[in-house]
Symmetry: C2
Amino acid sequence: MKVQVNQESFWGRYMEVVRTSMLPYQWEALNDRIADAEPSGCIHNFRVAAGLEQGEFYGKVFQDSDLAKWLEAASYSLMYHPDPKLEAQLDEVIGLIEAAQQPDGYLDTYYIINGLDKRFTNLRDNHELYCAGHMLEAAVAHYHATGKRKLLDVMIRYVDLIYETFGPEENQLHGYPGHEEIELALMKLYDITQDPRHLALAKYFIDQRGQQPLYFAEEKNHDRPFRWEGSYGYQYHQAGLPVREQTEAEGHAVRAVYLYSGMADVARVTGDDSLLQALDTIWKNMTRRRMYITGAIGSSHWGEAFTYDYHLPNDTVYGETCAAVGLVFLARRMLMIRKRSEYADVMERALYNGVISGMTLDGKRFFYVNPLEVEPEACAKDYEHFHVKPVRQKWFGCACCPPNLARLICSLPEYMLSEDEDGTYLHLYMDSEVRTEWQGTPVSLRVETDYPWDGAVKITASPEEQKEWTLALRVPGWCRRYTIRVNGEDFRAPVECGYARITRTFSKGDTVEIVFDMPVTEVAANPLVREDAGKLAVTRGPLVYCLEEADNGAELHRVRLPEGKAADVFTVTRRPEMLGGIVALEAPARIMCDRWEELYRPAEEESFASRQLTWIPYYAWANREKGEMMVWIRR
Amino acid sequence: MKVQVNQESFWGRYMEVVRTSMLPYQWEALNDRIADAEPSGCIHNFRVAAGLEQGEFYGKVFQDSDLAKWLEAASYSLMYHPDPKLEAQLDEVIGLIEAAQQPDGYLDTYYIINGLDKRFTNLRDNHELYCAGHMLEAAVAHYHATGKRKLLDVMIRYVDLIYETFGPEENQLHGYPGHEEIELALMKLYDITQDPRHLALAKYFIDQRGQQPLYFAEEKNHDRPFRWEGSYGYQYHQAGLPVREQTEAEGHAVRAVYLYSGMADVARVTGDDSLLQALDTIWKNMTRRRMYITGAIGSSHWGEAFTYDYHLPNDTVYGETCAAVGLVFLARRMLMIRKRSEYADVMERALYNGVISGMTLDGKRFFYVNPLEVEPEACAKDYEHFHVKPVRQKWFGCACCPPNLARLICSLPEYMLSEDEDGTYLHLYMDSEVRTEWQGTPVSLRVETDYPWDGAVKITASPEEQKEWTLALRVPGWCRRYTIRVNGEDFRAPVECGYARITRTFSKGDTVEIVFDMPVTEVAANPLVREDAGKLAVTRGPLVYCLEEADNGAELHRVRLPEGKAADVFTVTRRPEMLGGIVALEAPARIMCDRWEELYRPAEEESFASRQLTWIPYYAWANREKGEMMVWIRR
């Protein structure tokens, strides 16, 4: 299957921004050629490890993963935009990576430079298997994009070493990574190699995690005390008990969703019901009790972690960009197990809101943390809020978010649809051209849509010859009404697991048009979410909207939503000149306009002024001057 | 002047609880005789320093101050309850303190035990002058209570040493304490000695503070990095700029109010206008923009500090008990400069709410942190809230709050009134008997009141002979209507600076009755306080009320105040059997009663059920089973 996303479309433009702005910038950063940014040291480390340079290791213990993620994203970009110069650049850096690899297959520059005697002695903290996993994902992506095996073979040699090192035998380490990632990467490898050892290794890491005696408690070579003693404990790493006994989304959010992704892959391939059941329980807990309306996850900066059910503070949230990215990874894998629209709904919620809020529209600055309410003064003066920035930052010292954004966006076409023996499922709606085969019959699908601005999607199917097939179109969870027309005629499609199934014999040029009604909708959170009590979020289609100071002035806490049904009260306006081209929403809100001197005084009736306010899509906030922002508004 | 507070009255009972429960318990704790509490090591340290025992220093670097505060409180208690056994105990421990004093006057067991060579080398962190200040306050209190000079003379010798050590001369240290306290203590000493050196030393510490070059930045012997680099800086200690240039209440709240108290004393005694102006500016900033309705101060656990104007979160507040106690110290000193009711209003606000919320009714458990909203699950599982406990704790490792409560409560009679050349001012209303002199004429005043439960105060004045005098009675800031009757006849008193002045020739047995109307009043916070937007606090007289789960069930965030005027809607009920005897308030509140499964769904009309809820005085919360609490309720 090949998906070509229209470069001018919503996602097409993001893919171009990544390809033309982020990837080149990140390459310069990896090579320490960005003047006013913190050095990366990434390429430098590989050169030292390969013996091409003298020097010290620079950066965080997981610095290698920055290069791996960039490589992965760059590989994906070749799939939608062949670029011989870039491909040559990749070949060159792959050569460097190969040169850094040790004779026995080991490949982590931190230990190659600092001393191989200590390798694999600090699984809790030192990210070797994490780096291996990312480089493995890069190798798989490169192979898929170019057909070239060099990096794949490098990584297979490393995986061989890891396979020998870890396992149940007495002479093996009975450990697993402090930061999960390698599990899902091994499953990507297994997908290509079908080598049972690769599956077995992924399974081992998942099954062994959290078994008694706890590996991280026994491991000796830690250079600092265990930070989460007395708080999260080993559930910080989801390693306090065996994964099949876990029932809640707990601990560090990125680690969590990477683990659950690995569990989903293993469960899907092995058919392991006990694993799938645990996954289902955790998925429900996470998406029904611990997830923000923007798809952000991770309520607290303490440990960048989940906290507890319905605890979703808007202003001190962590909502790491990487975590929302990981949620998309997981949601997609759930879809690979079963086609249920709820999974694609979560994918969409994160993609259109909490994922791309992580970057400016021009791809030059990034958020680590994605708040749903911002007051710049709090960010500067209250150290509860110190992790929240009101403006995005250039390349970080800990630069995991930009490359994660890049690799997700560059691979987005893969997320749009999937196929069964009898049907093609559209999970996401992107203006694109798809070339695939229906049981051997070549077919091209032209998907025309202006989603997320408009709910109309027109699919023109052109099989080379007539073919009986099913087009299954996800009905988004937010959609209350929709119409389907096939070749211009009303069509009633049965809905299964949230997918409207259009089963027919398709002829060349057949059109399927589905129009999702997209009224402005005010959304309430579950009443157990204390922080959202008495408040509503404004949404339209998949997009969550917010108020920004740039449009509406400061003191957004004074705003009260207007009375009446949102669809009647809000005006929907195309604003092509604004924020890269958006649909803005306007409504006459009420502003509590009293001002007085005293700090406390007997209550009086509040006075309200009416003012026309403008809501913009949440992902587009913080692209103008610094100021307040608010998603949940008082009703 | 001698004030005997009625033992059965509101404050009389607190004074008895302190005397009969807290002071003995604290004495046992200081002697490490409490089985299940963290050891104090206090007496132990003095014994080692005095050479009576071998051993190591135990506890925090400011451990000595625990003994000093206890001594101070115990001395005050002798003033309302003579106790030969206790007095002998004090004599004994004072003998021990004297024995620990070094030949040159130095007296800090941390350095006596750990090495005198390092004394005064770490003013930023190591609390020597802080401990000296507290021991000095104890010495002054003991002298006032017993007429005995032993501890006073010990401390004067220490002050002599400090006076030589610190000052502008080249061979002197140009420093000042990291934790302010000695300034106000030296002024207490000056009050007795009238020794100009004692005033000069207090002045020096205040004037030198924050001058360039910054002493704490230059000081070399720190054993850890400066924690507040990059956040509060030296304003954590209010030492980032000279005090006369400071305009806001900043930094660690307890340090701040102790400094401002010292500044108030020096300004009053010297008439220094520049100092007074700075104090006025800071006082206004603090009480009009940075103070909670309970009198709590210190919005953030980061640095236990002030943050910025109108930033007053209710659930993550620090509101250290010691800081509210210090606010009372400061307010009283402002009153000593000028009689303005606003100062006594702040004193009252803190005393009846944020100060005594620091202790259980039986004086056995304490709060360090005094929140205005509590959800026990958050306290346990969200590490933003880790400093907030939903139940009070026994003696702490860092035990500054209980002894501060003790010494304030034991000395409370001093706060009730003050005298001028021409009048007696009542700042607080306590059922008591006062013996004083009006320009040489002995007089006794009987103050009868059931304040804070009732607004009626009856003062029977009995001068030995007829005397022209003024009784000035504070009209509380919360009071909108009151009546005055003198000998049963209506009396119109002129009000000056918030005090109703009854000027007449008083005869023996004359009665002055003032009745303050005490309707239930819902109070709003300034609209710039975002956390209180759309919410009101229920009050009656000086008391702030709250909802507790014990009376009203959980999920207090669902509550909406009833419509209508509070005075009409709330029922006021005496509950003598409840929480030591209180007035409870009841009203039919609305509870948002919807429950549903989904996390987010399109908004619908909210459903409300009506339920009679009970409000209790805030200070009395957390004396029953653990549960939620809330002061600010949605309107």
